[in-house]
Each structure stands twice: as structure tokens, then as C-alpha cells.
């Protein structure tokens, strides 16, 4: 048999799989390892999905997505971010941000082009760059700088081949958020070196201190940015697989070509449910965000009490504490915490080499579980000391 493609061979098998299988097979685990909301999609949105089925909406839609949904997305971007996107040609509805990320890279990257990824980062970026036959160039960040990239660190890694910079704030796994001023400094760099930016803003609604700044709203950035967002986190709709990309006509038109030959369209029921989320979901979204915010404070205070120094996350639903005081590596910490206390966290090195020495703890869990998990982490740390 001939081997599978070399491209795939270059993608390392995920080392975390075994640990994840262990979590999934351990009974009664309290898991802080979850990357999705613990809320069920608000009922009014679920009802819109049910109604879509009842009314026989079971067909394809336009490859672009329902015009009704694109118009609502356009209005929400204008209202929330202050950026104008034409629903005809500048917005593409996708099956989640994951798809949008993949096709954006495929559209922008030629073989050998370099894509800058700021780590610790979500795990899909580097493999997707590879699928597009690009080369990832990593910019590490530090806890002492609140996991924000230093502009000169980015500049140092820019070459003739650099084409795209991927930004994702609020950040998974660190919870970092950049201020408008910090984003503007990056925007200047993007202008200077004529780069594209893929801005994954899926956690935008989950910003706790102050307003979210949409990267494409910055001066001159709309044409350079492919803005990715969706419904999974803000409206607890992960399983619906619905998101979108917004950008210049040229890029979105090209993304549409990939999308129409691969995905065709996002599921129509999900599109109709997303319409309901945009029309009437503000209240449910706000309530969930308020609840996350309380858990966030509880999480950070609890981790600090357990002796784990923790950068105060300002967005998303993750805390990314340093585990240096434990004397263990990220993987050892996570494995022993699971084995000894039945609490699951994700080792920070999964998100890049500079994530070593940290673990990702999700606070998208009930207060009851969160309190119990923090108590167990504290016990774990005390037993390590003793």
C-alpha cells in the first residue's frame, strides 16, 4: 500500500490523546479541562432550531449562508464593533470558526509562506497552517507580560515570506486580552510589513473588564483582517457548528470557493437558530457572562489560595496558573492531579512550548464543582509540600 500524504505525516500525532482518554475513562472526575460552555444553549434558541425542523427547513442554503443571517451578522458587527461589512460578499457563514480558520489559511497561504502564531495558543492554528502548506513561526509570550505579545518579538520574526499573523483575543488558553492601544501597535506593524491578520474573536463576548476591541475596527485594518467569530461561546452553541468570516470581498469570495466545494453550507437549522441568537440572545448571553465573571474571580482566588500563582484572565473562560511552585512539569501535574484527586486540567505545553509550567483550568463548570475542584487542588498542593 502506498503511504498517506507526506503533508499528513508532518502533523505530529497529538501526544495529549492518551491523557485525554484517561480523563474520559476515569469515573467521577471533576473536569476543568473542558473547552466549551457548561450551559445548554438557551431555550429560545433551541426552540428556533426545533421550529426549523418542524417547518421542514432541511435543505441546503445559499453557499454564503442565509441572507437573513448575514444581514443580522452585519448589523451586529456594526453595532458591537463599529465595522461595516456588506452582507452581500463580505460575510461568509461557516460551520464554526474552525472551518473559517482552515479556509482562510488555504486562501491566503502559498507553499512556504510564513504564518505567525502567538503562543500559548489554541491548538488548531499550527496544523491548519500546515494543511495549507505554510510554515508556522511561533512568537512566545510570558505570564509576566500577561501573555501579551511584545511587538518587537513579532517584528524580529517577520521575514520576506511572512504573510499572515494570527491573533486570538480573548485568548484560549490564557484568558489574555489586548487593549486597543496594544492592538494599534500591532496594526502599525501589520501595515508596515503588508501582512494579513486572521483575528479569531470567538470569545469576544466573554470580556470582563471593559469592551472588546475588534481588530478590523482599527484604522486601515478592515481590508487586511479576516475576522472570525461565531456563536459557540457567546450563546453556548458549540455543537451547532456555526460561525462566520468577515473580510474584504476578494478574500471572502475566495473563501467562498473553498467552502462551496467542501462544506457547501452550514446546517440550515443552525443558521436559523443563530438568527434567533442574534435577534433575541443578548439577555441570555449577558446572564452567562455575569456568571462566568463570578466563577472567574472564584477560580483565580482559589488557585492563589492553593499556592498557584495565576495571571488574572480578562476574557474567555480559562485561568492559566503557573504550577512552578509544585516542582512538577505540566504533564506530571495534570496526570497526578487526575490520579490523586480526580480533577482534570489540561497541561499548558499542549498550547505551545512556552505553556510549559502552566495548566489550563476552565471555569465553564458549575460553582459547586468549581469549589470542590479548587478544594482538591489545594489538598493536592499541601500533600506535595508535606
Amino acid at each position: 500500500m502506498k503511504p498517506i500524504s507526506k503533508r499528513m505525516e508532518a502533523i505530529p500525532a497529538s501526544g495529549i490523546r492518551k491523557f485525554f482518554d484517561l480523563i474520559l475513562s476515569t469515573p467521577d472526575v471533576i473536569s476543568l479541562g473542558v473547552g466549551e460552555p457548561d450551559f445548554v444553549t438557551p431555550w429560545h434558541i433551541r426552540e428556533a432550531g426545533i421550529s426549523a425542523l418542524e417547518h421542514g427547513h432541511t435543505s441546503y442554503t445559499s453557499n454564503w449562508g442565509l441572507i437573513e443571517l448575514r444581514e443580522l451578522i452585519s448589523a451586529s458587527l456594526r453595532c458591537d464593533c463599529g465595522v461595516d461589512y456588506d452582507p452581500h460578499g463580505q460575510i461568509l457563514v461557516t460551520s464554526g470558526v474552525s472551518e473559517a480558520l482552515d479556509i482562510a489559511l488555504r486562501v491566503l497561504v502559498d507553499p512556504g509562506d510564513e504564518v505567525i502564531v502567538i503562543e500559548p495558543s489554541y491548538v488548531s492554528y499550527k496544523p491548519c497552517v500546515r494543511f495549507a502548506e505554510g510554515v508556522s513561526v511561533v512568537v512566545p509570550t510570558k505570564s509576566s507580560n500577561e501573555f501579551k505579545p511584545v511587538v518587537d518579538d513579532i517584528r524580529k520574526r517577520i521575514t520576506d515570506k511572512t504573510k499572515v499573523l494570527i491573533l486570538s483575543y480573548p485568548n484560549n488558553p490564557t484568558g489574555a486580552v489586548l487593549t486597543r492601544k496594544e492592538l494599534e501597535e500591532i496594526a502599525d506593524l501589520v501595515n508596515e510589513y503588508d501582512l494579513y491578520v486572521i483575528s479569531d474573536e470567538i470569545y469576544s463576548k466573554l470580556t470582563y473588564n471593559g469592551e472588546h476591541t475588534c481588530f478590523s475596527s482599527l484604522n486601515g485594518m478592515k481590508e487586511r483582517t479576516i475576522l472570525l467569530n461565531g456563536f459557540s461561546k457567546a450563546y453556548a452553541m458549540t455543537g451547532w457548528r456555526i460561525g462566520y468570516a468577515a473580510g474584504s470581498r476578494e478574500v471572502i469570495e475566495a473563501m467562498m470557493k473553498v467552502h462551496q466545494y467542501t462544506m457547501l453550507c452550514a446546517p440550515i437549522q443552525s443558521q436559523l437558530a443563530a438568527c434567533e441568537a442574534l435577534r433575541n440572545g443578548d439577555k441570555s448571553c449577558r446572564e452567562m457572562v455575569e456568571e462566568y465573571n463570578r466563577r472567574r474571580r472564584l477560580m483565580v482566588a482559589g488557585l492563589e489560595e492553593a499556592g498557584l500563582e495565576c495571571f488574572n484572565p480578562r476574557g474567555a473562560f480559562y485561568a492559566f496558573p503557573s504550577i512552578k511552585s509544585s516542582g512538577l512539569s505540566s504533564t506530571e501535574f495534570a496526570e497526578r492531579l487526575l490520579e490523586e484527586k480526580k480533577v482534570a486540567v489540561v497541561p499548558g505545553n499542549v498550547f505551545g512550548a512556552c505553556g510549559e509550567g502552566f495548566v489550563r483550568c476552565s471555569y465553564a463548570v458549575s460553582i459547586k464543582d468549581l469549589v470542590e475542584a479548587l478544594e482538591r487542588i489545594k489538598e493536592f498542593m499541601e500533600e506535595l509540600d508535606g
Partner: protein
């Protein structure tokens, strides 16, 4: 959101949440939360801490009835007079003045169906001003005080994802 509202929202969901935890959640000291709660109690903002109980699970059967009451207004007594008379009975769980085809909606809890029937006939119908009553016996309770009372099967989120 003010600190006051933040703390009240936490307590509305779980009245037994320890002060220490609330303090962490809202980002102030435990002492501040304690003082705030004491003030809210004194001012009557926090009326009482009670428990939602599924009495059926310990074998105690209650009969609940919703009673629609229509009132003849007289010169010397408005709705308030009748409503307050009804509210004083311990069997009565709630009393509301409502818009629509009747005036008061009253929820009564008793041990037996007969108890409710006698209560309505003897105590409610005889109040001066009560013109008519319509009694609905409650057959099954699905949600009380914002809490779902039935078992639900809500998805199977994986214990870990990135």
C-alpha cells in the same frame, strides 16, 4: 452591575452560598459582603431564606389548588381588604391581584382534596365581597420558584476538549 445586585443574584440562586465564596466571586472582602448582607436584611431587601422541597420524595402528599376569585367592590372595601383577609390564612401560599376575567389568584396548600374544598367553601366563599370562586387542583408541578423539578437529560459534554 452594582455590588449589591451582584451579591443578591448569587443569593437568589443559592441562599446557602458561604460568605467567603461570595466574596471571592464578587471580588470584595468577606467582611464587606457580610456587612452588605446584614444591611440588605435589615432594609427588608432580603425578606427571608427558604427552601424548595420536593415533599413527595419523603412521602408527604400535599394538595395544591389555584383559586380564581372574583370580587364585588363595595364602597368601604377595595381589593386590598379581601386580599389581606385571604393572605392571613397559613394554608394560603400566595395571593396576587391580577388583570383579566377575575381579580385574585390564590394558591392554597392542604393535606387533602377535602381540606381544600372545605377551606374554599368555609373560609374564602364566605368573605364579604367574594362574588365567585373557581378552583383548579394542581395535578403535577414541573417548575417552582424558577427551579425545574423533573429529571432532565441534558447533553453529554465531554469531560475534556481543547
Amino acid at each position: 452591575m452594582t455590588l449589591e445586585v451582584d451579591v443578591l443574584e448569587v443569593l437568589e440562586k443559592d441562599a446557602r452560598m458561604p460568605v467567603d465564596e461570595i466574596a471571592k466571586m464578587v471580588g470584595v472582602t468577606a467582611e464587606e459582603v457580610e456587612n452588605l448582607i446584614r444591611r440588605l436584611e435589615e432594609e427588608g431587601v432580603i425578606q427571608k431564606y427558604k427552601t424548595i422541597i420536593d415533599w413527595e420524595k419523603v412521602g408527604r402528599e400535599y394538595v395544591y389548588a389555584l383559586i380564581e376569585i372574583s370580587i364585588n367592590l363595595t364602597e368601604d372595601e377595595g381589593y386590598d381588604g379581601v386580599a389581606k383577609r385571604i393572605a392571613e390564612y397559613p394554608e394560603v401560599r400566595s395571593v396576587r391581584l391580577v388583570s383579566g376575567t377575575y381579580d385574585l389568584l390564590v394558591v392554597v396548600r392542604e393535606k387533602t382534596l377535602k381540606d381544600v374544598a372545605y377551606f374554599v367553601a368555609d373560609k374564602i366563599a364566605t368573605i364579604r365581597g367574594v362574588r365567585q370562586t373557581v378552583t383548579h387542583f394542581s395535578l403535577k408541578m414541573y417548575k417552582e420558584e424558577g427551579e425545574i423539578l423533573y429529571q432532565r437529560d441534558e447533553g453529554g459534554r465531554l469531560a475534556v476538549s481543547l
